[in-house]
Amino acid sequence: MSAVNVTAASKIFNKGTTKQVDALLDVNLTVEPGEFISLIGPSGCGKSTLLRLIADLLEPTSGTVTVNGKPAAQARLDQDYGMAFQHAGLFDWRNVAKNIELPLELKGWDKEKRKSRAMEMLELVKLPEFAELHPWQLSGGMQQRIAIARALAAHPSILLMDEPFGALDEMTREYMQGELLRICAQTSTTVVFVTHSIPEAVYLSNRVVVMSPRPGRITHLIEINLGIVRGEATRASNEFFHGITAVREALRGTRGDHVDDLDQAAKLVTRNVDDR
């Protein structure tokens, strides 16, 4: 049974009006258990929309999405997946442990069980001494690790991440990538990861899904063969550069009207404009 199965899924916003947007058109994607998949592409290619279809935060206009063999809606009710966003989105009014307990609280776990699970998750992300602090007392990287701990607190089999390291500086980002791989290997979690960064996608993934805008669709599926154990040496390896080149060339054909994927700075500016 595959972890995620998207079949002929389309998502059209404002259908039939002048503001109609074909966010996704006839997308097919299968993610196997334990796999790490990245979705990459220029702004407006529908990668975040695809992630939200899998999460059942959006419903497809047509087509089907199954998660762990169930309809996506049922998988959401069963908390089969955890989610992390670009902004860690921790609640200021809860301390770190209480933030991690949030999904467990909503599931109706009792207090003792919640507490011990929160500690277990804090050990996993190597921040056990920060349980009593509040999120705004932590650095951005620490906040994101807490957000991952929260996403995995209910032991979901799948982790859905929407540019989780997009707001971090480069050094922290590389450290977080290593940590994420370690955590996912330790918990054998399947990951669907949305990113703008080519090296990030290549470093993390078993497969990179390259998408293209207007209408949003999948253009390439690129296998990355960097092995299971990845570290600093991986980033200097020939396979890593081959992967980056392959993804870059796939993206070149999908360039948006105003997005230059080779120019990181221009891309960041464009993204910021799009976010408003």
């Binding site: 959401r76 908390q79 902004h87 989105g89 609640f91 200021d92 609280e105 909503l106 859905l160």
Partner: protein, 280 residues
């Protein structure tokens, strides 16, 4: 700081009495400068000394105890009005946040409600209250006064809370949805905590609204025992004893300060775990 500013205001008052025109003055042809004589602007020490006097000749009650008792009486009405208004305001905000159509239908009426003069409304509420008799429950007059306080209090609370309830970031709402959280769970665990920084200033406005509503309603319904009644009674004696009315006016101001103090304490408690720079 507060004590200092009070002293400053008192000093300015006395300074104007020294340099201001005794019978008012004209500025650019318009009669706008207030009279600085003792009848219009009594000395500060005259006002304060009135607290030690008997209320009326032959009475054994000093003015300070009368004002204090009136203040306590009004304070309870204000508190009742504030709690009632806050409850109604929060309730309306929840309804409006839950159902967009309620917001669009209700919000204009809320705005209009605040343009109705309280003075005009007061006798109406009293007469409605007098006609209501539910299972032997006699509608007390003070309840009408509290309701008029609540009438001024609920509006800032409903608008502020609505803004707060819809202030949670979209990502946080998505996060709660990803946990299949019910609307009620999201309300209690995300929307309300996120609304607190918006609700505290709204409660501050509501507290002063409740004070104004109660004092004005006491005057216009003629309810005995409160600070509003004292203001109007002492004002009638202003020709003979101009300093006396200020004792009651200061009492009303103290009432507002007491309410503001309660809200400030609540603010400190609720915001104790928040980042300090965003605390209001």
């Amino acid at each position: 700081m507060f004590i200092l500013s009070i002293a400053l205001v008192a000093a300015l008052w006395e300074l104007y009495k020294v340099i201001g025109p005794q019978d008012g003055g004209q500025l650019l042809g318009a009669k706008i400068l207030p009279r600085a004589n003792d009848r219009a602007m009594p000395h500060i020490w005259d006002m304060l000394s009135r607290y030690g006097r008997r209320e009326v000749r032959g009475s054994d009650r000093k003015i300070w105890s009368v004002v204090l008792a009136g203040g306590w009486f009004s304070f309870r009405l204000v508190l009742a009005g504030f709690i009632l208004g806050a409850a109604v305001g929060v309730g309306l905000a929840i309804l409006m946040a839950r159902f967009k159509i309620v917001e669009r239908g209700l919000l204009p009426y809320l705005v209009v409600s605040q343009t109705v003069p309280l003075i005009a409304l007061a006798p109406l509420v009293v007469s409605w209250g007098g006609k209501l008799q539910l299972a032997g429950f006699e509608w007390p007059r003070w309840l009408s006064v509290s309701i008029l306080g609540a009438f001024l209090a609920f509006f800032p609370v409903s608008v502020g809370t609505l803004k707060g309830l819809t202030s949670a970031p979209a990502e946080s709402i998505e996060l709660m949805n990803s946990y299949a959280s019910s609307w009620r769970q999201t309300l209690l665990k995300l929307r309300f905590p996120a609304a607190v920084p918006f609700m505290v200033p709204a409660f501050k406005l509501a507290a002063s609204g409740a004070v104004i509503g109660v004092v004005v309603a006491e005057i216009s319904t003629g309810l005995k025992g409160g600070i509003g009644r004292l203001v109007i009674e002492y004002a009638r004696e202003a020709t003979g004893d101009p300093a006396k009315v200020f004792t009651a006016v200061f009492g009303a101001a103290a009432l507002g300060l007491a309410m503001a103090g309660i809200i400030a304490l609540g603010d400190i408690y609720l915001m104790r775990n928040r980042p300090k720079e965003t605390a209001t």
